[in-house]
């Protein structure tokens, strides 16, 4: 594809976009700045330390920040290298769009593999693909244009709306509702039984878990992640929220919209998470904690109680990030502090 053709597909590009097509090279792939070869596109984000690599890059074209102090310098460096460049507000976003054009997603053809099993009264929408050994229970509704990869298991009464993708060996338990454009990655489990037991003299007595799990539109659940169903009511994940791999969401948890939850996070039963919350890798959230909108927790922190909107927290128990960093610095000096104290 010629570069001029490619950039027509980028949402940010207008007649005013600063561009040097440098002979309009043929672009047939993309890679990072340091690895890109002739015929490939790369990108550079604002303030990224990699700018020094530009003069030695072999890439044919680059997406660079359209404004800011470095913009002019980067344009000059690229032009000197004979590289075509496009100045964008968000070069990373442009790169994501270009990747989709250069490497179109393969969607399997519509149809049901002969080895797939669909239970009684279940409906499969138009254009939907069911791979080998897929098992769909009874009374399920699968929307149009969904892809269920091999080995996926849907138990009874599951509803999946249009344009969803469920990857290989994922399991969706009875009564779960999956909104439009959701992606469930390989071996994830939705609607598994909540971890609810009552201590009795004869040991732990199981609490029946009759609730359901609801994923709203555009949710992603990573590989091996589990979303438990509650004893009563629902476990809900809000629109556009993304869960990484190996995340555990306990029974009855409510997650707001557009949250990003990194790998190995654990959220205990009954917690409430607001909108636009970011939980970094391996964060833990205690039972019935309330995390308000736009909270960010750095990796491995342990949250409990109520965390007020907009806070950045760290440590366990989690405290304000800046204070935690000071505590951590003091921790390294504890032996010296003890000595000073004794004096």
């Amino acid at each position: 594809m010629q570069l001029s053709q490619l950039i027509k597909g980028l949402s940010e590009v207008t007649a005013q976009t600063p561009i040097d097509l440098a002979g309009d090279p043929q672009i047939d792939g993309a890679d990072s700045l340091e690895r890109a070869q002739r015929g490939q596109l790369c990108f550079l984000e604002k303030g990224h330390g990699l700018a020094s690599l530009l003069p030695s890059s072999r890439a044919s074209a680059i997406l660079i920040p359209g404004r800011g102090d470095e913009a002019l310098k980067l344009r000059q460096l690229a032009s000197e290298r004979g590289m075509a460049w496009v100045g964008l507000e968000n070069p990373k976003l442009g790169f994501a769009e270009a990747l989709e054009l250069l490497y179109p997603r393969r969607t399997p053809a519509a149809g049901i593999h002969p080895s797939a099993r669909v239970g009684s009264d279940s409906l499969v929408g138009e254009g939907t693909h069911l791979g080998a050994n897929v098992s769909v229970g009874s009374h399920c509704v699968i929307g149009a244009r969904c892809v269920l990869h091999p080995g996926v298991v849907l138990m009874d009464d599951v509803r999946i709306d249009e344009d969803c993708e469920v990857h290989a060996n994922a399991v969706i338990h009875p009564g779960s509702r999956i909104g439009r454009r959701c992606v469930i990655h390989s071996a994830a489990v939705i609607g598994s039984e909540g971890f609810g037991f009552i201590p009795t003299e004869n040991g732990w007595r199981r609490m029946p878990q009759i609730g359901v799990v609801i994923l709203e539109e555009g949710v992603e659940v990573g590989c091996g992640s589990t979303v438990d169903r509650p004893c009563v009511g629902e476990t809900r994940i809000g629109m556009g929220s993304k869960l990484d791999n190996l995340v555990h969401i306990g029974h009855g948890v409510q997650i707001g919209r557009h949250c990003a939850i990194a790998a190995q996070v654990g959220i205990a039963g009954g917690s409430q998470i607001g909108d636009h919350v970011i939980l970094a890798g391996q964060v833990g959230v205690a039972t019935r904690a309330v995390i308000e909108d736009r909270v960010t927790a750095t990796s491995k922190s342990g949250l409990h109680g109520r965390v007020a909107a907009g806070q950045v927290v760290s440590g366990y128990p989690a405290i304000a990030h800046a204070r935690w960093m000071r505590c951590v610095a003091a921790f390294s000096r504890l032996p010296d502090l003890l000595r000073a104290g004794r004096r």
Partner: protein
């Protein structure tokens, strides 16, 4: 099998190794140090015990070289023994002799789904409900268990084993002699999103994953593929259960990553790195060869070769241990500080008199 016959099968025990065959007992199984009974063999390592564990009656022992007390103790009790430079290694060898893995019948189960464009090597075994996608290449003597799923263009080299429920995504490469345990996922989409006004927008993940030879990946562990290029695990590296390897990570050779370790996108680990359980590694950082981290550590920044670290965020282990010892007495320290403050009108500030920290603390890992 007689003890003397058993010894002949162990490569790690030479003819010159000291031994006492006693009455050359028949050995029919292996057991742990604390449960060994007649007819069984077990092993002692340097430091595991100074005499034969009371209440046990092993028929034979593998002992560390030069441990007089254990040797004498065994001889007195009439227990046969042999010395080894590496008792645990010798024990591993004899386990394979005494408890051989059940031979799996070669062959392809009729319920396995194999795309006609896939190529299978000699003596391959494929279990029921396994799915082998288009253009896959499976090497000789590979074993693919029930329900494992290989998407298209996957390459699995000779003598590798893929356990039940594992999912191998498109274009992944699995080297020779690898083991991918149950429900592990190789080559899944990296967690890459761009915040926009209308929510988190997906960054397409067009790369793939490479496991070099002899890599082991534990149950439910996940290795993500990157936006471009590859995520690579070096030869001989062993990864425990529930480990997350982010997109674009490079792990060197012969590393050991314990259970629940998480490595964020773009990090680069050298060779022989050992990470304890639940260790977290921040995105895009470099760990030198031979780095070791204690369990639960969070590694926020680059580490040089051979560094040993501990804590959240991780600091040199020695420093951590000294600080942790003082941490326990913080309540007393706080109390005496308060007392001093009451006695003296001058504000005490221990911080001012302390030397500056010898290490700057980088911000914690961010989500990849």
């Amino acid at each position: 099998m007689r003890f003397s016959e058993l010894l002949e099968t162990l490569p790690s025990i030479g003819d010159s190794a000291s031994r006492d065959l006693a009455d050359d007992p028949v050995i029919d199984s292996a057991a742990s140090l604390i449960s060994a009974a007649t007819g069984q063999i077990t092993f002692y390592e340097p430091g595991s015990a100074d005499e034969i564990v009371p209440g046990t009656s092993p028929s034979a022992l593998i002992l560390p070289r030069g441990h007089e007390r254990l040797r004498n103790s065994a001889t007195q009790l009439g227990i046969a023994w042999v010395e080894s430079d590496h008792p645990k290694l010798s024990f591993a060898e004899l386990l394979e002799i005494l408890h051989p893995e059940e031979a799996v019948e070669c062959g392809i189960d009729p319920a396995a789904r194999i795309d006609p464009t896939a190529s299978l090597g000699a003596d391959v075994s494929i279990g029921p409900f396994a799915v082998i996608g288009a253009h896959c290449r499976i090497g000789d003597r590979c074993r693919i268990h029930a329900g494992a799923i290989l998407h298209s263009w996957v390459r699995v080299d000779d003598e590798s084993e893929i356990h039940s429920g594992a999912v191998i995504h498109r274009r992944s490469v699995i080297g020779k002699g690898c083991v991918v345990h149950s429900n592990a996922v190789v080559g899944s989409e990296g967690f890459g999103f761009i915040p926009t006004a209308s929510g988190l927008r997906k960054m397409p993940q067009t790369g793939h994953v490479v496991l070099e030879d002899q890599v082991e990946l534990g149950c439910n562990s996940c290795i993500d593929r990157p936006a471009m290029g590859e995520t690579r695990i070096g030869s001989g590296t062993k990864i425990d259960n529930l480990v997350q390897i982010g997109h674009g990570v490079t792990v060197g050779c012969h590393c050991a990553l314990a259970s629940q370790v998480g490595i964020a996108g773009g990090a680069r680990l050298g060779d022989h790195v050992v990470l304890g359980g639940k260790v977290g590694v921040a995105d895009k950082i470099r760990l030198g060869d031979g780095v070791k981290a204690y369990a639960s550590s969070a590694i926020p920044g680059h580490l040089a070769d051979g560094e040993i670290v501990c804590g959240i965020p991780a600091i040199p282990a020695r420093q951590f241990i000294r600080s942790a010892a003082v941490f326990k007495s913080l309540p007393e320290m706080a109390k005496s500080l308060k007392r001093l403050e009451k006695q003296s009108p001058v504000q005490l500030s221990a911080q001012d008199s302390a030397p500056p920290p010898n290490r700057t603390v980088a911000p914690g890992p961010e989500p990849s």
